[in-house]
């Protein structure tokens, strides 16, 4: 890690800023993963609510949580009862290889838990875009705030449920919608429910699906011509590990005399940090050490720029598109009957007008013809009279 810092010694002192988001249905191990990553109980585990309320579908609220070594937290927008998932934002400090990282983690409990989940995506996309909007606004200021805090999400870990089959509709839809705004890294949560063979097949099928549906995930891009051999090797290795299989645990167990983090089953013990059991260690190092800078760069140079271009050309081309997107229900519910009536009446009116106009035209034409006749006869008489005169 040190060699990358070469010319950035002051950054080392200031520390890096990194923000990632974890998304997935409840029970896929998101919260445990975050706690395992930060080595501390950073996120509160879901307190299973009052059983009487279990049938209520949760609302969305964004709440910051202050925990332990917290420097500052942002109070972000709070919706009430309008949106559908909660977002928890945690800011904490990590020491990774002696480098300080100021880490912001956004959790999204409630995603995919409702009966109808169509609206979840918009919430998350809205959050991501609002962070970009903040940066956009800040960049356009005449006097910029030197202490401005960049809250853009640099990576999104999407937790896939370990069904063992393939990607579900909600997985595909989410990754597809979010890839244009953030680096999506698919991850298999609770991977201890798959045997090694099943895991291999599952990973293979997921990658096939991702290719089939053309979902642009973050796949550790490398350029065989430009980058050096080590990077190419590292990245291609990480690429073969995609999607990472994750087992998380914030408890310690004793295995063969060693105390490790893991889960204890009656038939054996799973170790979190054992690369044969889970890809957690590789993911952690990739996310927080080796590829942290890469993720940030892609977010800034590519995703943010795209968003900026889209947004600015949208406002130039005219107008807020939001008003035009009428709710389908509204349109349908606007009484269709009324419209039919209106339409019929207007049609009749137009037809009447047409008839009247045509009649008028007819009459006028007849008048015209009569007058022409009269004129002609007059002319004839005139001619005759002139002839007579001449004669």
């Amino acid at each position: 890690m040190a060699h990358r810092l070469g010319g950035r010694r002051k950054n080392v002192k200031k520390g890096f800023q990194f923000c990632f988001m974890v998304v997935g249905a409840s029970g896929t191990g998101r919260t445990t993963f975050v706690n395992t990553l930060c080595d501390s109980g950073v996120l509160p585990k879901k307190i299973s609510d009052n059983p009487e309320e279990a049938h209520n579908e949760a609302g969305i609220k964004i709440k910051p949580v202050s925990v332990g070594k917290l420097l500052n937290f942002m109070l972000l927008f709070v919706h009430e009862k309008q949106s559908l998932i909660f977002l928890f934002i945690i800011v904490s400090e990590l020491d990774e290889d002696g480098v300080r990282i100021s880490l912001t983690i956004v959790d999204t409990p409630g995603f995919g838990d409702n009966i109808d989940n169509e609206k979840c995506f918009q919430e998350i996309v809205g959050y991501l875009e609002s962070q970009y909007d903040d940066i956009l606004a800040e960049e356009n200021r005449i006097k910029r705030n030197p202490r401005f805090r960049d809250n853009r999400v640099h990576a999104l870990l999407y937790f896939i449920a370990p069904t063992g089959h393939a990607l579900r509709e909600i997985d595909i839809e989410l990754m597809r919608r979010l890839s244009p705004r953030v680096n999506v890294i698919p991850v298999i949560g609770r991977a201890d429910s798959l045997t090694p063979q099943e895991l291999r097949d599952f990973k293979r099928r997921i990658m096939e699906d991702i290719e089939h549906y053309n979902i642009p995930i973050y796949n550790f891009p490398y350029d065989p011509e430009e980058d050096d051999e080590d990077t190419v090797e590292e990245n291609s290795e990480l690429r073969t590990l995609l999607p990472f299989s994750i087992i998380g645990s914030d408890e310690e167990i004793v295995v063969n005399g060693r105390t490790v983090r893991g889960r204890q089953y009656p038939w054996g013990a799973v170790e979190v940090d054992n690369p044969k059991h889970s890809d957690f260690a590789r993911l952690r190092s990739a996310l927080l050490s080796s590829h942290l800078q890469d993720l940030k760069e892609i977010t800034h140079d590519f995703l943010y720029e795209n968003y900026r271009t889209e947004k600015l050309s949208r406002t130039i081309n005219g107008g807020d598109q939001d008003g035009a997107a009428l709710d389908a229900d509204e349109m349908a519910s606007q009484s269709v009957r009324l419209k039919e009536e209106q339409l019929r009446r207007e049609e009749e009116k137009l037809r009447d007008i047409e008839l009247k106009v045509q009649k008028e035209i007819q009459e006028k034409r007849q008048e015209l013809q009569a007058k022409e006749e009269a004129l002609r006869s007059l002319e004839a008489r005139l001619a005759a009279a002139q002839l007579q005169d001449a004669a």
Binding site: P51, E52, N117, E118, P266, K276, H277, L375
Partner: protein
């Protein structure tokens, strides 16, 4: 009148044996339904339960074929099992597509309709003049597979289970239980039981009391393990201590299917097949069917066909779409009319102008004519 004990053996005590012979010859009919999201191990479980591959797994190669209607299907698999000369006609009902989509609203309707239809069909067949060949597909037990989140039931689970519980013997099952540590599992079971009780979901409870003590205790242990945690596997693996068992082999150990400490499979199997199958069948016939029948007969006359609900929610969506299209078309038509109107008005104005011009011309000519007349008149008078 107290039963009078017969002094010498008349042979009445042989009646159960006769019954046994008749039943053994006839064979039995058992219909089981498995309900739950895909990927929870339903197919594997059925195959494990009956130790033969009754159901085929979903073919992963076909998964990219677009499924346009996004509905829940009912898949019926029939098999005939035979053990020690006793035949069982087994029917397995699966619900592929349930809970798999982004919007799962009303996804339980096909399932509920199916259950009701079976009761309905049986009722109709019973009312026929000839009742010999009754095709009975009434579901005797429904296993609802719950995702092992460790938290609680999802709103979808609750909605469906409420509706299932009143129509069929419902047994909730924790799928893929090898992802929960023993403590997580105990917590999860407790939470589930609380939610089930709080939401008034009716689940199957077998009769506990029985003549001999061992059966009673066994029944009690079975019931206290609800909801059952399941691990399914049809493969034989070798454990660390050399035994060959059905189980799942991980890098950290082997989870055995039939080991009571690993999962509740044995208890569930005992409940479904060994001990309580008859109870399941009879409760379906006596309780659920009778409830249905009573409910229907209170409103319908004997022999009346069932009133079909016409508002299918999927149709409603299509209706909305059509309405939207219609409104768009209406807008287009209005635009066309407006153009037409404008054209007509323009045409009319043009013609009017022409008319005006012609009038003006006529006036001029008339003026000239008059002038000429006058001139001519002067001329003639002059002559």
């Amino acid at each position: 009148m107290a039963p009078a004990p017969l002094a010498t053996g008349v042979g009445v005590a042989n009646l159960p044996n006769q019954r046994h012979k008749i039943v053994a010859k006839r064979g039995a009919n058992f219909t089981i339904m498995v309900c739950g999201e895909s990927g929870l191990g339903k197919t594997t479980f059925i195959n494990t339960l009956f130790t033969t591959s009754i159901k085929d797994h979903k073919n992963p190669l076909r998964r990219h074929h677009k499924q346009l209607d996004k509905t829940v299907e009912i898949e019926i698999t029939k098999a005939e099992l035979e053990e020690k000369m006793f035949k069982v006609n087994l029917t397995v009902i699966d619900t592929p597509g349930f809970g798999d989509y982004i919007n799962n609203k009303d996804s339980w309707l096909p399932v509920i309709e199916f259950l009701d239809d079976q009761h309905e069909s049986y009722m109709r067949q019973e009312q026929q003049p000839s009742r010999q060949k009754i095709n009975d597909l009434r579901v005797h037990v429904c296993l609802y597979f719950i995702r092992p989140t460790g938290h609680t039931l999802t709103p979808l689970d609750i909605e469906v289970m409420k509706r299932l519980g009143t129509r069929v013997n419902l047994i909730p099952v924790i799928a893929k239980a090898d992802t929960l540590t023993p403590r997580d599992l105990a917590d999860f079971k407790r939470k589930l039981r609380e939610v089930i009780a709080a939401q008034n979901i009716q689940i199957y409870s077998c009769p506990i009391e029985s003549e001999d003590e061992s059966t009673t205790t066994r029944n009690r242990t079975i019931m206290s393990a609800m909801p059952f945690s399941i691990i399914g596997s049809t493969q034989d693996v070798t454990t660390a201590d050399g035994r060959t068992v059905k189980g799942r082999e991980y890098s950290w150990g082997v989870a055995e299917v039939e080991n009571e400490e690993h999962c509740d499979f044995k208890k569930l199997r005992s409940l479904l097949v060994r001990t309580h199958m008859l109870d399941l069948v009879s409760t379906t016939e006596e309780m659920h069917y009778e409830n249905y029948r009573r409910g229907q007969m209170e409103t319908r006359k004997f022999g009346d066909p069932k009133v079909k609900k016409l508002n299918n929610p999927k149709f409603k969506e299509e209706e909305d779409n059509l309405r939207k299209k219609f409104t768009e078309q209406v807008k287009q038509e209005e635009n066309r009319f407006r153009h037409w109107e404008q054209q007509l008005i323009a045409e009319r104005d043009r013609l009017n102008k022409d008319l005006e011009d012609k009038h003006a011309q006529i006036k001029n000519l008339e003026g000239e004519l008059d002038g000429l007349y006058q001139a001519q008149g002067r001329n003639t008078t002059r002559r």
